[in-house]
């Protein structure tokens, strides 16, 4: 596997020296350009010797709302005299620590709720050459209402659904129950799960694969991290059931590389499952096989796109494929593949274990089941909460997440990270439900609720979101690669106003044309969703944007500062 080879080289040298890559090319018969094109795609790999202390401050939504820009500026001030080979301070895309922001990665070790003093102290430790140990919040397992095995501590008492299924082999019944439950994909797109599994089950091609997308990388999305910490057994059981039902004998759990603790938890759980004969060849003497392995992502938001994720597993650049064909017909290695989000798999043993009726009874206001939501940003108690589907946003923000921090008021919230756009406080009674949020012009997505208080500048938040997409675009297709940059340029110009009114009107037309083209012409969801944040801000906060562009004033006092103007120059392209 190319990533294993590259990681081994990087572990030895701290980066990928040319001579080693040439040797790798000779050993593997892989052309040099192919190795380089893969290695240069993933931020995880260094093609040049990194600085002794590589300080990367998370730049995205929740950290942005929690002082990351100030932290970065302060660190740059404190290390202003350092040489480039000593300290490098740069932005990094969301590290998946949105509830414990701001997050900083120093030499790939992640630290959370970091103050400037602490970041400086860790950086100095790195400069001395001492080992760094990232922050691992205490890992006790939380009880979850949706866990059918809650209270069963012994592993043997879990996995009952899987055990029963290996004996009954009632795979059609699994599909019909999932169909009755109307379970939909929880990763964002909401595709009916029973339909997906049924399609793969009916595909004649073999081998088939079950792949779990645990690469949540959208700013604000932290629910899968929580689920893998607290319900790893349901995830493994769900994947194994998918394997048995569809006839796939191999499962791959694709996890983002910033989730070291969850990797360990899952590894431990997998070992126990193998010991008990719940995975592997001839599961519990049933004659059924299912192997499950963890694949650590080489990194990047785009890997969360299902076909990009497949490309990454195959050892390529994670560039989304043109569809059709879809993964159900031609997925991993061109074979039929079930690809679901962590939470979707976790829902399966719940439904099968407790019954469809139970599942349907869990939701509120006509919705079904439970939903894990991550709440971050400017709330008093950020975190992941398990709530019934259909719960109102008000209930989540004010009851579970403790309301707005510091006595301020709610201004806006993103129901699911930048992709869902921003909704104003007046819509806080919207329910957490596929349809309700779609009707509100947003989406349920992955349940990554990011909350903005009344001190937030919404144009700044739109720019922050577009910049994230610009940094994470794979660059395969023109609308996304070039469009995300041009949209960033346009919004930067707006934050630096004032502009003559005719120019502003022209810009608005141009922005609409660009938004339409990106939405229609991009290969994958990333490019298609880039316009969402700014379009939602124009829809709900138009006066604020006008004030920036026409009067040259940021009502929140955030844009138009010299620091912002200077900072932008450094932030074009996250890679050096």
């Amino acid at each position: 596997m190319i990533f294993d080879d590259l990681r081994a080289i990087q572990l030895r040298h701290g980066f990928l020296p040319r001579a080693e890559l040439e040797g790798l090319s000779q050993r593997t018969q892989m052309p040099l350009y192919q190795i380089h094109s893969v290695a240069s795609f993933y931020p995880h790999f260094h093609l040049a010797m990194p600085a002794r202390a590589e300080v990367r401050v998370c730049a995205d939504m929740s950290c942005h709302l929690n002082g990351a820009p100030e932290l970065r500026a302060e660190l740059e001030r404190r290390f202003a005299g350092s040489r480039a080979e000593e300290v490098q301070i740069r932005d990094v895309s969301c590290l998946g620590r949105c509830d414990i922001a701001p997050a900083v990665a120093i030499n790939d070790q992640i630290f959370t709720e970091v103050s400037a003093d602490r970041a400086e102290q860790i950086t100095r430790t790195a400069l001395r050459g001492d080992a760094l140990h990232e922050d691992h919040p205490a890992a006790g397992r939380a009880a979850c209402a949706s866990d059918p095995y809650a209270g069963d501590d012994a592993i043997g008492e879990k996995y009952r659904v899987l055990m029963d299924l290996t004996q009954s082999k009632a795979f059609e019944r699994v599909l019909s129950e999932l169909k009755l439950s109307e379970l939909r994909g929880m990763g964002g797109a909401g595709f009916p799960t029973s339909l997906k599994w049924d399609l793969v089950r009916k595909e004649p091609g073999t081998p088939k694969y079950v792949v779990c997308n645990a690469d949540e990388s959208e700013p604000g999305t932290i629910k899968d991290r929580f689920i893998m910490t607290h319900l790893p057994h349901l995830l493994i059981e769900g994947m194994a059931i998918a394997g048995l039902v569809t006839g796939a004998k191999t499962g791959i759990l694709y996890i983002r590389h910033e989730y070291h603790p969850q990797e360990e938890i899952l590894g431990e759980e997998l070992r126990r499952c193998y010991q008990l004969g719940l995975l592997g060849k001839n599961i519990l003497q049933s004659g059924l096989d299912f192997d499950l392995q963890v694949f650590v992502s080489p990194g990047g938001y785009i890997c969360g796109e299902e076909t990009a994720l497949i490309e990454a597993i195959e050892g390529h650049r994670a560039e989304p494929r043109n569809k059709p064909p879809f993964p159900v017909a031609a997925g991993l290695f061109g074979k039929p593949t079930v690809l679901n989000n962590v939470e979707t798999f976790v829902n399966v043993p719940q439904i099968l274990g407790r019954g469809v009726e139970w599942f349907k009874a869990q939701g509120q206001a006509g919705s079904r089941g439970w939903k894990f939501v991550g709440v971050s940003g400017q709330v008093a108690k950020p975190g992941v909460f398990e709530v019934p589907m259909g719960t109102t946003m008000r209930e989540v923000l004010f009851n579970h997440a403790g309301g707005i921090r510091g006595g301020r008021t709610l201004k806006a919230f993103a129901p699911s990270g930048p992709s869902s756009g921003y909704l104003p406080a007046s819509m806080v009674d919207v329910r957490l439900d596929f349809k309700a949020l779609a009707d509100a012009g947003s989406m349920l997505g992955s349940g990554a609720i990011v909350v903005c208080d009344n001190t937030t500048c919404m144009l700044d938040m739109a720019l922050n979101a577009v910049r994230f997409y610009r940094n994470e675009s794979c660059g395969k297709c023109v609308p996304c690669r070039v469009g995300s940059q041009k949209m960033t340029d346009l919004l930067v110009r707006w934050t630096q106003g004032p502009l003559p009114e005719p120019q502003y009107r022209g810009d608005l037309v141009l922005l609409d044309e660009l938004s339409a083209a990106m939405g229609l012409a991009s290969i994958c969801g990333l490019g298609q969703i880039v316009p969402a944040p700014i379009q939602s801000v124009l829809k709900h906060f138009r006066a604020e944007v006008d004030a920036h562009v026409l009067q040259g004033q940021c009502p929140s006092g955030i844009c138009h500062t010299p620091a912002v103007r200077a900072g932008e120059a450094n932030r074009v392209g996250i890679r050096p």
Partner: protein, 723 residues
């Protein structure tokens, strides 16, 4: 959705309301093209795998979003709209995005006015892109002599990448980086001129914009030399053999072809030298010869004593007969003639081309060419020769020369063909086909029907057999070798895959001619059958070995195939280097043993020829003197010219060049002799003339052993399993 009337294998759909019926699997792009509905594109070329990245061929196929027509297969009942407002708007925005970063007019537009992006943008009415321009330039790369790279004009359409990979199989170009910072890169992002790029020009031909353009090769080495006469394109087109060559091409390559005059007796090129040009003789006669003495390197024991001393000497074939010598009596060289083994001298005249292998594949010169009378010749670089060889007039002349002068030799060189009657040879000379293959192209594939027989004319052909989990290289064939007889004589199915390693030309004898031949000449049949059987047995033996010894590492290192291995027991070895010194003592002070190599358990396998599965040493020998016997042993024939390519190619450093002092004809002064140092390639000879190799004998710690790998590893496996 398929209407009852749709025949199987076909799909009915409508494009812009027009009913269209196409074969299953046809792309919307092709279906539209076939119906006369043009769809614009930048990234799609008909001969390259579609990638769907430029998003210009967008059509509305009824989905939530638009589809790229080049990658969208037609589906029954599909209703495709190619020019709605929605589609045209999206296309225009895509063009405007690209144009905002495009250095208008780009190099291509300036040179030839055919930048595809600028043409399309103009057609769409885009004059002043409204988006901000790229703030940081991506830069130029002028390191290649042939091709200029302007990264700012690159639109990442992947056409060059596919041209390099799919069409030319050069595998140099790829995407690098991510997102807006992405670009194209050569190898590990090397400057193009320092990369493994061979300047074939495919990328530049594929490029739709000014990102990759021809620099022209004026000012390259051959044009700079004093006596070279440079032509302009018009002059060249007057010369008969240049008829039909693209004038634009010649114009762009001014200086890549020059006219030279050589006085009688002057050297034109020397064997073993590296070069990159071919010569086409226009006037005069030239003599082509091999000046290295034709002799084996023989290593003999000297005085009898405790430490036997070996000396290497050159021994002619008459003195030192080898069994199983090469059957043919000609030495293949890089010209339209072969040299006679007994007297390796031949004459070249007007219309002859030589140096093709050197020029196309950069192999060392295979022979020395000296002007006999005053000579006028064209000397040309690869891009010119490549184009010339594609030119019908020139091609026909070269082929005719080859048929007239060398083909008979080649045919007769196959031992069994020695008995063919002159009239049949004459028939073959007219009926055979000459075919060219690009590097990596498969000539015949294992399992395919066998319908012809091949002789290698130029280049190297890899013969390999696939087995579960791998590929075994059976042989590398070079000029004068033949293949394809096993399939024709046997079950009519190819038993191995034959792949062109570089620019290859083969002589193809049709199955009909082949069958006629073996019917008319029973001795030919018997001879071929015997060789075929021999080859097959050897192959089977090797396959069996592969199956019986499941030690991956050994297989991958080719050790199991060695006839004999030198292993050092590292538990006993004190690294005293007595073995190395003994080897040096035994071989005139030049050691052939390096105490390095693959480690296995406590054993180190010292470097000595291991008869690799994939004998890389054989690739590129300009005179075909290193080859594999059917017994698998690699041997170096006596006409080795000492160019050293095999030594450089051997991955294990097991081939050394051994210098000898010899008296040779002084080429500068015909008729005189002079002393010179000539090299010959040698590999470890395992001190064949002694009871034991000197290194083994000299080891004071009983650490060095010469072993038969089969029994040795079998023992080791046995030990391991009893442990």
């Amino acid at each position: 959705m398929t209407t009852a009337a749709t025949p199987p294998g076909l799909v009915d759909l409508t494009i812009d309301g027009r009913p269209v019926r196409v074969p299953n699997g046809t792309s919307v792009f092709d279906a539209a093209r076939m119906s006369g509905i043009p769809i614009p594109t930048l990234c799609h070329l008909q001969n390259e795998t579609p990638v769907g990245v430029c998003r210009l061929c967008l059509v509305d196929a009824g989905g939530r979003v638009l589809s790229a027509a080049c990658v969208r297969p037609c589906e029954p009942g599909m209703k495709v709209v190619t020019a709605s407002e929605k589609v045209l708007g999206a296309r225009k925005t895509v063009l405007e995005l690209l144009m905002s970063d495009h250095p208008t007019p780009c190099a291509r537009q300036q040179h030839s006015g055919d930048c595809e992006l600028e043409t399309q943008a103009k057609a769409a009415g885009i004059t002043q892109p409204r988006f901000a321009k790229r703030s940081v330039a991506r830069g130029h790369d002028d390191s290649s002599l042939a091709i200029a790279v302007d990264h700012d004009a690159c639109i990442l359409c992947d056409r060059c990448i596919r041209g390099c990979d799919e069409i030319k199989n050069n595998f140099v170009l790829g995407r690098m980086g991510k997102g807006y910072a992405a670009g194209i890169a050569f190898d590990l992002n090397a400057p193009m001129g320092d990369s493994t790029c061979i300047s074939c020009g495919e990328c530049m031909v594929s490029c739709p914009t000014g990102a990759l353009t021809n620099r022209g090769v004026a000012g390259t080495a051959i044009a700079k030399t004093a006596d070279a006469q440079i032509f302009d394109a018009e002059e060249l087109l007057q010369i008969p053999v240049f008829k039909g060559v693209s004038g634009t091409f010649l114009e762009l390559n001014t200086g890549a072809i020059v006219k030279r005059r050589f006085r009688a007796g002057e050297l034109i090129c020397k064997e073993g030298d590296f070069g990159s040009t071919a010569f086409y003789l226009l006037e005069g006669r030239a003599q082509v010869s091999i000046s290295t003495p034709i002799a084996h390197v023989k290593t003999d024991g000297g005085a009898k004593g405790f430490f036997k001393k070996l000396t290497s000497s050159l021994v002619s074939r008459t003195e030192d007969k080898r069994d199983d010598e090469r059957r043919d009596r000609t030495i293949p060289i890089d010209a339209s003639v072969d040299l006679n083994y007994g007297s390796p001298v031949a004459e070249l005249g007007p219309g002859d081309l030589f140096g093709e292998m050197t020029c196309m594949n950069f192999y060392p010169r295979s022979a020395t060419v000296r002007a006999e009378s005053d000579v006028v010749a064209y000397e040309m670089l690869r891009n010119v020769l490549d184009i010339m060889l594609k030119n019908k007039t020139f091609r026909a002349q070269i082929d005719a020369n080859y048929r007239r002068r060398a083909l008979e030799n080649h045919l007769r060189g196959v031992p069994m063909f020695a008995d063919l009657s002159p009239d049949f040879i004459a028939h073959l000379k007219e009926s055979v086909e000459l075919q060219r293959y690009a590097p990596g192209q498969v000539i015949a594939r294992q399992g395919d029907a066998a319908d012809c027989f091949y002789l290698v004319r130029i280049g190297f052909v890899k013969i390999s057999e696939s087995y579960p989990g791998g590929e075994l290289v059976l042989a590398y064939l070079s000029r004068g070798d033949y293949f394809g007889e096993i399939g024709l004589l046997g079950g009519g199915v190819r038993t191995a895959t034959c792949t062109a390693l570089d620019h290859v030309e083969v002589v193809r004898i049709s199955g009909d001619d082949f069958r006629q031949m073996i019917e008319r000449f029973p001795t030919v049949r018997a001879g071929l059958a015997a060789v075929a059987e021999e080859r097959q047995q050897a192959n089977q033996q090797r396959m069996q070995m592969l199956h019986s010894v499941p030690i991956d590492q050994f297989l991958s290192q080719g050790l199991m195939e060695a006839q004999s291995l030198l292993v050092l027991d590292l538990e006993n070895c004190t690294r005293c280097d007595a073995c190395v010194n003994a080897c040096a003592d035994a071989h005139n002070g030049v050691t052939r043993l390096v105490r390095e190599g693959l480690r296995f358990d406590q054993f180190l396998v010292a470097t000595s020829c291991r008869q690799c599965r994939d004998p890389l040493c054989m690739v590129g020998c300009p005179v075909g003197s290193i080859r594999r016997r059917n017994s698998l042993e690699v041997i170096i024939e006596d006409w080795c010219i000492g160019c050293g390519l095999c030594a450089r190619n051997c991955p294990y450093g097991n081939i050394n060049l051994h210098p000898f002092e010899v008296i040779v004809d002084d080429l500068a002064h015909p008729g005189r002799k002079k002393a010179a140092v000539k090299q010959k390639a040698t590999s470890c000879d395992l001190c064949t003339h002694l009871k034991e190799p000197s290194c083994v004998y000299a080891c004071p710690h009983d650490a060095a052993h010469r072993v038969d790998p089969k029994t040795f590893f079998a023992d080791m496996i046995g030990q391991a399993s009893t442990k």
